[in-house]
């Protein structure tokens, strides 16, 4: 009887040690797969819209965290169309100019759609996004995602949260 109790005690102490060690190992292994500090630190991109040489009606692609960022300066017709569709608050407005600033990745399965006359079209599964970045056709479940950014004058700092991007994210939710 006393022998059994001893073995039970040994068994339970081993279980306790193994449980603590096991959980600690899992936490460590999980963290080994996290994005590295250097990857995270390289996550800020600065774009000066005044010097970006944007042509209204033609988006330009920038790179942020390895992702394409579409910046489109809207034409007057696009601004009117957005108003008619109830998307007048979707734009970033600086000095009276309207911009669409979005992550250029299809919200369906992560392909990069291409600009085609007046909308983005995704070659993978046929999704379409209008000039405001709203999904208008096909499998994409939601509009383009707006990256977090802050605005200083005409300069955007992608990766730094600011009130403008927060508002743009909110109206799309």
């Amino acid at each position: 009887m006393s022998n059994t109790n001893r073995r039970d005690f040994l068994g339970m102490s081993f279980a306790a040690v193994a449980a603590v060690g096991g959980v600690a190992s899992l936490v460590g292994m999980k963290q080994a797969w996290d994005p590295l500090p250097s990857v995270l630190a390289a996550g800020f991109t600065t774009i000066d819209l005044a010097k970006a040489e944007l042509t209204p009606g033609k988006p330009k692609t920038f790179k942020w965290r390895g992702k394409p960022i579409f910046i489109l300066q809207k034409t007057d017709a696009m601004i009117e169309a957005a108003k008619a569709a109830g998307e007048e608050d979707w734009d970033l407005v600086i000095d009276g100019k309207h911009y669409t600033v979005v992550i250029g990745i299809c919200t369906h399965l992560g392909c990069i759609p291409a600009w085609n006359v007046d909308k983005w079209k995704c070659a993978c599964h046929g999704g379409e996004f209008n000039a405001s970045g709203k999904h208008t056709f096909g499998p994409p479940p939601k509009p383009y995602v707006v990256p977090p950014f802050s605005v200083k004058g005409t300069t955007l700092v992608l990766g730094e949260k600011g009130p403008q991007s927060a508002k743009m994210i909110e109206v799309r939710a």
Binding site: P35, V39, R65, G66, G110, C111, C124, P141
Partner: protein
Amino acid sequence: MAKIEESLFSAEGMDKRLATKKFWKVMMTEYWIPKDINFLWAMGVVLAVTFTILIISGIFLLMYYKPDTALAFDSVNYTIMQEVAYGWLFRHMHGVAASVVFLVIYIHMFTGIYYGSYKKGREMIWISGMLLFVTFSAEGFSGYMLPWGQMSYWAAAVITNLFAGGSLEAWGLVEWIRGGFTVNDATLTRFFMLHVFLLPLAIIGIIVLHFYTLRIPHVNNQSSEEIDFDAEAEKYLAGNKKESKVIPFWPVFLSKDFAVVSVFLIFYFYLVFFNYNFAMDPVNFDPANAMKTPAHIYPEWYFLWSYETLRGPFFDMLGMKAGDIGLIIFGLAQVIFLVFPFLDKDPDILPAYKRPKFQIWFWIMILDLLVLSVYGKLPPTGANAWVGFFATGIFLALWVSLPFITKSDAKSRGAL
């Protein structure tokens, strides 16, 4: 322990120390296989041979491959393909075998389904086999990333993105799997580790399990006859080889298997030398470019049917987003075959030709998987999208109807 006098370097000495004779008997000469089988029963050995080819050719590729985004593409397309002696051969052997192994896996699987070799005692064979299918799929996917061409990169982007779970937007999980905001160097290196170490290790382990699960219930036969293996083995050992319904695994069964393996190897090396292009997508000969999506992204042929269920539902319905429905069906398609033994409600083990409704079910399923595979490769526009939609619907309907169909067959036979 008894002291052993026989030399270690003699059959007798080995037997004394390791019981090799007993082991050989249990594993080989007295492991009984029914006589009433056909060439489809050789697929297991064909798969073992193909897996061995994959390991050997993989070892040679591993010696020159570099799992680094800056070096990977050239290490494959320049170093291995042009500089290493027979490097091209090892690459084509590896690529073609990776493709052909799935063809044989599908034949092996549907042989099991046709003859009812997954139920009433053989569930563990089926389940361990389906685990092998899943690990082989992961192995195929991780290997496809390594040449770091355009299709490698974008397949990796699309598949890792599935883990965002559609509307769930589990973005943290995707970034954890990738080790970065996009598919990047860390992603390539960790999938390299999975491809050359962890997954092969798991596969070898599950293969051993798969063989073991077969040992006690034994192999099924063409008429799914219940055989008393002990009684039949006794007849065979007594010399009544003609009357006995069984043969030993070695040397009788394997000799026929090796004949099938020879035919298979001729077919396989014909593909390796003269028709390897089907396993070498031209798009993948462009280096990976994160800023340019290829015009059309599709997986290798063996994933096409499940890929098509992902995009089959292309419009919102039942208050759910199209993408989410596709993701749910896709997830279901990955695991549904695993529970096959539990969806078959027929109490008898019978081949499909003795189960009239199930036989129709079987061939519709094959046809539907072929349609899904063909349309999985085509762009999902216009009528194609609708074919995909209905084929996905039929796929789901087949699974829902399986318990009822098998029950109905049993009833009309009077077994229920």
